[in-house]
Symmetry: C2
């Protein structure tokens, strides 16, 4: 296929790379230099591969690549945004390396930086940034999973010796799935219920030595290997038990709370619940990073599948007698192009959440004023992490299938890509739970804006929701349609059929869905509670609605991020291509949920069919640009491995 | 969880096992006896695991388990249906064993049985049934994939010596992905273009010795290992090249065509195209078997996920202070129960296609009359294979995620289950291509029934499609609704709202969708052709419509098979449970495609919402039965492995 080169690929790469092009270039060069790890992943026994991954991580650390997020005074780069960009880009390569970096620098390092104070920073940061001190992040327990507030591990203050005593009361409270714990970490940040005297103060974090200088478990610490996993076998996940393990009073990471020598608990945050969520909030960077890594893993899969589909011929064209290339088939375009468009969309949504993270964490000393922004950030990070990781699972699988049997051979990248990314939907917050977190935030926001409404606004609001309720109950869709004839919808009358490629119209659709889902969810929850139903039962019954509302919200902010980016790109073929991708991402999303839009009278049948036709048409327009659009991801050629492309034997 | 035992589980197992309960019991007992293979799969190096899989296959063969499909005179069981039942049941265990069995007995053995004649049967069947002669099935080539008719390998008749000379002209024509070829097979059934004199007669099959007695490649044969794969690493897939490899004239499998000593080509089937598809049609058993294996692999995943979700507690019930079990969450029910219901539905659809296969192949000598039935069988086998294998991929993945991090540990079965089944959507016919085959058959049927219509029927038919076309074009949904008021729909007036749980209504919906999609597809194809568009372009543009029509057809026959089965079950709690599963399978299918039903005015918005509410309600009703419903699958406990269930620490 000699498609015309209509796009300026380097310029498109620059648009994607954004502010941190240099950081990304450094990581790409490190990836290419360590490309052998992809072969090691397939061929080395597990123990050797774990050591190899550690070596690569330490060699990359030596280039400064993993230290961007730490203060300059400890040898870091002092730039949170750069740290996210580096991490994301690393995900074009082996993902055990990525996760090992995340555990060591993001979780372990991040906890010391964010939950600790100057003495901890001085004691640990320089060594950990340079990979001399290896640590792990011991939060999750076997019996509690995502419910961190219910952890069983205890840290009891012994005023006699001025120490905390850590204990694992039972097997449900063993620390589980802890990366770096089975083999490499000498230290752990351990989350435990802090008990002073008779009183429990909730979950706090402690620095605990878990291995001695010879690498043996420290006294009272038991360590077990979690064993082989579906993927990420270069990361040594382990389980930890503590039996009367004593640590100094100063080993409590005391940014938000401390215990005085004589056993008095003090905290700048009175409310225990708020304190807990403030501590957890500092960990938002991990979610932002995982979301970005997922998007970049998707790019690798798409780059391989698109190139394969341009080379691989299958079945005859009855006209010409030659076999057609796969990418000329409508169904193949349908399989790959909406995912390609969505990958661009999520890339820009990721750029936005990373920028928000950077802004929120750039001055870690400033509190209070930043708190609201941080809450919004947490919600955004949860939402983009969930959508990004679901997207990666789906995209990598679809790309594997689109490469047929060739995609099933381990020599090609899909094996490792799908196995390694599979757990992304589960770790750093299970996606289903993260989406509930998003929804919870939205309901609070909703209540806030409701309270802020003036009298007229309030009446209008209630009236409009009441009308909708009636419409839905009576199925009088025709009433809604008649209303449309006279009531302006989004500034238009119903006679002016809006252009499907009008971005404002697309945004209007997504916004309408979000608001409608939230309003109706609020009503359902309220009426359940009002009727005296057990709140757990109300929640269980509405859970799909809760998650649907969160989805709708995140979809809308993903589209907004793409539109914001579009507005910054100069007119020309590159912008036209990005607009095409933006349309395809938005409309394929509307198409996928057209049942809902039809059900709620927001799309007519003919309109819904027009959306499907437009998605097909956009695919045909995208066809000649496809190779350049994946080239623009700037994936080092070594990361694609070319066996499968040769296999296609074009 | 002490749920009441409302079901008679042994009776339900008997309903599922059907006619071949004894065969299934034999396989279950063989599985339990070889349960160690699940551990070997995780721990042995690849080469050793391959040998271990071969041992297990041979030990199972010794019990008669793998020979049911062969004539009794050669030591087989003479019962095709039993052979499918045995194969399916085997899929509760390690899937490399399953695929190795499929290659040796189904593909290699099946080709000799179906394409060969008595001399071939006498020469090979006894040895191959008992695992003394190992063979492979060399059809697929690297450059052609699913397009078998375009194979490049040639078999040229040399009248001087009375031999065929096999050649691989280029790397696109190398045989690829051939199971049993890399290590174990001494013989191969090779598909090649038969050339006699100057004339090519299309693809035929030959028995070729590929290894000598010492296991070295035979003269002129080159063999390469395909290397590690995502899964199924107990199967030795390889590539084959032939360089002037000579085989006797009688090594042509000559049931449908032969070459005389003096080089004259003869065949009972004149038309070359028809001959080709007749030969391929004999391979339908492989598809039936793979579909059944996929359904059974899904059962294993569901049994683990359901039991886990009944033990695992997560987050507090604000009322009681205890954590709730996962399966009490509405979202968790939504994740698992429609898949459970669908697994039952596909089980019965599989039972039906296996029975059709049995009927069609029970007397392999009879031709002609059975051909129509065989064509219908091929279509049904293609459709259920595609739906079953897609279902397995989706179900296993969803179950893995529903078990969170525990599901990611290799010690539990999801790792192997998902990796091994992943290629099921691709092999024995890529699903996308199979669905096109289904659609093609339907369009032919459609044309047939059109021609059979009488004058009045014809007028009615054209008028009704014309009305629909107008409706769709003008989006006058309200017109349709008004029409409904006066026109009986399925024997009711619009005022009588049919019960969603009325099976006839569900079937009516699925039938209406199928007919509508077919009629509109026929019109689109016709009008594209009439307009002079390149047929390849017409096809490419309609490809999603083609596959949608096939989907709708298979969905309908799946529901019919379930309803047929229901009619045979005695009234009581078991039948009530099966009816519940049938409703849930049908309605969750309607819900998933409600966009289409709404778009085409076949469901109103309120009705579509009622479907969603009913799916949730059915999930709540299913909740107390869930454990018994997976127990009824009769999976040997050893196949579930209990590590994950212990991990849940309830």
């Amino acid at each position: 296929m000699a498609d015309r080169d209509v796009l300026d690929v380097p310029a498109l790469t620059a648009t994607l790379d954004g502010k941190y092009a240099e950081v990304r270039a450094l990581v790409r060069s490190n990836l290419a230099a360590h490309a052998g790890i992809l072969e090691d992943q397939r061929t080395l026994p597990r123990d050797e591969f774990r050591e190899r991954v550690l070596e690569v991580v330490q060699e990359m650390a030596a280039t400064g690549q993993t230290g961007f997020g730490f203060p300059a005074e400890y040898g870091g780069g002092g730039d949170v945004g750069a740290s996210v960009a580096a991490f994301e880009t690393l995900a074009l390569g082996d993902l055990s390396v990525v996760v090992k970096v995340g555990v060591q620098f993001g979780l372990f390092g991040g906890a010391i930086l964010q939950l600790g104070t100057r003495p901890h920073h001085e004691a640990y940061l320089d060594d950990l940034i340079h990979g001399r001190l290896l640590g792990c992040f011991a939060m999750t327990e076997s019996g509690h999973g995502s419910n961190v507030q219910a952890l069983g591990t205890t840290a009891t203050y012994d005023a006699g010796t001025g120490e905390f005593v850590l204990d694992t009361p039972d097997d449900r409270a063993r620390k589980d799935y802890i990366g770096n714990a089975a083999r490499h970490a000498s230290h752990a940040v351990v989350f435990a219920q802090l008990v002073v005297g008779e009183e429990s103060h909730g979950v706090h974090a402690f620095v605990v030595r878990i291995r001695d200088d010879r690498g043996e478990p420290a006294p009272g610490v038991r360590i077990e290997d979690c064993g082989p996993k579906i993927g990420l076998n270069g990361v040594d996940n382990g389980r930890l038990w503590f039996d009367s393990v004593r640590v100094a009073r100063t080993d409590l990471l005391d940014r938000y709370a401390a215990v005085t020598e004589d056993g008095r608990y003090t905290s700048g945050i009175e409310n225990a619940n708020r304190r807990f969520f403030t501590m957890l909030g500092t960990l938002v960077q991990g979610r932002v990073c995982v979301g970005g890594a997922a998007v970049n893993a998707s790019k690798v899969a798409l780059a391989i599948a698109v190139e394969y589909a341009q080379r691989r011929r299958q079945f005859g064209n009855p006209g010409s007698g030659t076999e057609e290339v796969l990418l000329d088939y409508g169904m193949h375009q349908r399989r790959l192009f909406p995912l390609l468009a969505r990958t661009y969309a999520l890339h820009f949504a990721q750029e936005r959440v990373a920028a928000d993270l950077h802004a929120a964490f750039s001055d870690i000393e400033e509190e209070g004023a930043a708190e609201l922004a941080r809450r919004a950030l947490e919600s955004r990070a949860a939402g983009t992490k969930a959508l990004g990781t679901w997207h990666a699972s789906r995209t990598i699988q679809e790309c594997r299938e689109a490469c047929g049997g060739a995609g099933y051979l381990s020599v090609n990248r899909f094996d490792a890509l799908r196995a390694d990314t599979d757990v992304f939907t589960t770790f750093e917050g299970d996606n289903t739970i993260l989406m509930q977190l998003v929804a919870k935030g939205l309901l609070t926001d909703y209540k806030d804006s409701f309270e802020d409404l003036d009298q007229i606004g309030l009446v209008r609001f209630v009236a409009s929701t009441a009308v909708e309720t009636v419409l839905e109950r009576t199925n009088a869709r025709s009433v809604l349609e008649r209303l449309r004839d006279v009531v302006p919808v989004g500034g238009r009358t119903a006679e002016e059929v809006p252009d499907l490629l009008d971005s404002r119209y697309q945004l209007e659709l997504l916004t309408w869905r979000e608001e409608h889902l939230l309003a109706s969810l609020a009503r359902r929850l309220k009426s359940g509670i009002d009727a005296g139903t057990d709140p757990a039962e109300v929640f269980s019954r509405c859970q799909d609605h809760v998650i649907g509302a969160a989805h709708a919200h995140v979809e809308r902010i993903v589209l907004e991020a793409f539109l914001d980016k579009l507005a910054t790109v100069e007119a020309g073929p590159n912008r036209d291509a990005l607009k095409l991708l933006c349309d395809l991402s938005a409309l394929s999303g509307v198409e996928a949920d057209r049942g809902w839009f039809l059900e709620h009278g927001r799309l007519s049948g003919a309109r819904a069919k027009a959306v499907t036709a437009q998605v097909n048409e956009l695919g045909r327009r995208l066809r000649p640009l496809a190779q350049q659009l994946v080239d623009a991801f700037g994936i080092p050629r070594e990361m694609l491995r070319t066996e499968l492309l040769e296999f296609s034997g074009s």
